[in-house]
Symmetry: C2
Subunit: 320 residues, 2 copies
Amino acid sequence: MRVVVLAGGYGGAKLSHGVALAAEAREPAPELTVIVNTGDDLELHGLLVCPDLDTVLYTLAGLANEETGWGVRDETWSAAEMLARYGAPTWFRLGDRDFGTHIMRMHRLRTGARLTTVEAELVEALGVRARLLPMSDDRVRTELRIDEGWLAFQDYFVRRHHEDAVHEIRFTGIDSARPTPEVLAAIADAERILFAPSNPFVSIGTILALPGVVEALAAARAPIVAVSPLIGGAAVRGPADRMFVSLGGEASALGVGRHYVERYPGLLDGLVIDEVDAGQADALRALGLAVRVAPTLMLTTEHRRRLALEVLAFADSLSG
Amino acid sequence: MRVVVLAGGYGGAKLSHGVALAAEAREPAPELTVIVNTGDDLELHGLLVCPDLDTVLYTLAGLANEETGWGVRDETWSAAEMLARYGAPTWFRLGDRDFGTHIMRMHRLRTGARLTTVEAELVEALGVRARLLPMSDDRVRTELRIDEGWLAFQDYFVRRHHEDAVHEIRFTGIDSARPTPEVLAAIADAERILFAPSNPFVSIGTILALPGVVEALAAARAPIVAVSPLIGGAAVRGPADRMFVSLGGEASALGVGRHYVERYPGLLDGLVIDEVDAGQADALRALGLAVRVAPTLMLTTEHRRRLALEVLAFADSLSG
């Protein structure tokens, strides 16, 4: 069964991993395609760094640093130390294994390969049995307006620890960017489509802002199910909860449902919310959404697998 | 006193380091400029690697791995491990700290900086009190003809462990390459010019093959003194001794002297040879060279300093 996950980094990697792990328990086994946000990508030291793609890649490959939630485990930091001696910026930390990825990626891109092709090569090399699709081969830059003005995403997220209130979001380059043929084909061919518990504004929202993606999703045969990234009104990680407030919504599972229903009318078939938010299920159903209540916190690998099975079962119930 | 050293990697770094260390013992203190061969440079993983420049840089900065004779000490190898997983070539080993240098260099070059400028930045950042000048900002590629045909230098030197007999050498790109203005100015302004005990064919020879360098050296006021890279007919490191044989010379201090005198008539004023080769001093003098016999093996830092002092004293005697 062809399962497509729209994903950012942290929550996207975890749910994608769960779907990959669920392969053993489901018949037919899920064939996983992850469509990943690239609006957070940045150029650093002359290399293209793709944090969301890398987090999904490393997680699916079993190489992720589960403690930090980013980067590769058993990492060393020698290249960054040397770069610091040379006066290079140090606020975005890159480990040596991680540098290996960025060096290889940049090398391939400079030879003219598409990002989509390069990621397929990395996935293949690391023995990952899933497709990992950048949302676009064109450069899109997520930028956020805070009190002092516009910031590049990683300036906001890493350098300033996502502490600023975000008043506005824009995706520079999005108008001329296109989803890849692989992305459009994956959506059209999908049997189940999942929105990972990633940030609805700057992860899922970036993918959905690409011209043609919402239309492709609306035309898809597969049911579309989202997993709320908010549990009890709080984001497991990152600033999604505060963004709901500062951008004029409500930091709750209900707020997540409203966000998707109001911004993308008719797109979402169902929403999975956490058990602690069960009391909001009826209000969400009143918006026209099917609702499934489940434990959504993915602290362990087994949690990931169970949530993926639950989400897929929910999508099954909405299918056909 | 302005001292210019023409250098390859291994022997060039050691003698240059000796000159830098000799600063304390000489009045006026040497102001060191090292003109470095770039014909051995290679592109690897999309990065420009400059083995000779790096060896001199790391040695002068006190960062060199003295055991291996290349790379940085206290090195880690994580990026290379990751690159190997991605299928990148592994025959030319690059450590993580070393990668830091190559990443920074490539980043700066891609922004349009000259190699000369970039190296000056690296030197400054590492607190090295010497000038490190690539012989050219233009790409020159040293290639060697072996039985099977032409090889790029590092293919011959590292990948095939310089085991092949070399029948011919060429410097691809040299006709259109130019020494930098900094190189020409350093030669013109020099008060002492030293040819390091580097390979006369593929280290010193590459620099001398650059259009205009021999003319600039001939016009220089400074005495020019070479240090023989052969001790008792053997190279301390590398294939220089075998090259003397396969290219039609003699692997000896005398062979080194003949090489310089025959290829570059009148250029060299003096040659420093090792004590074990003292018996060849007269034959060398018969070629018109001044000769100084000294311990030339630089096993320790103190050896480097002493040899530099000896070579500079020899050059003093040939000056004015």
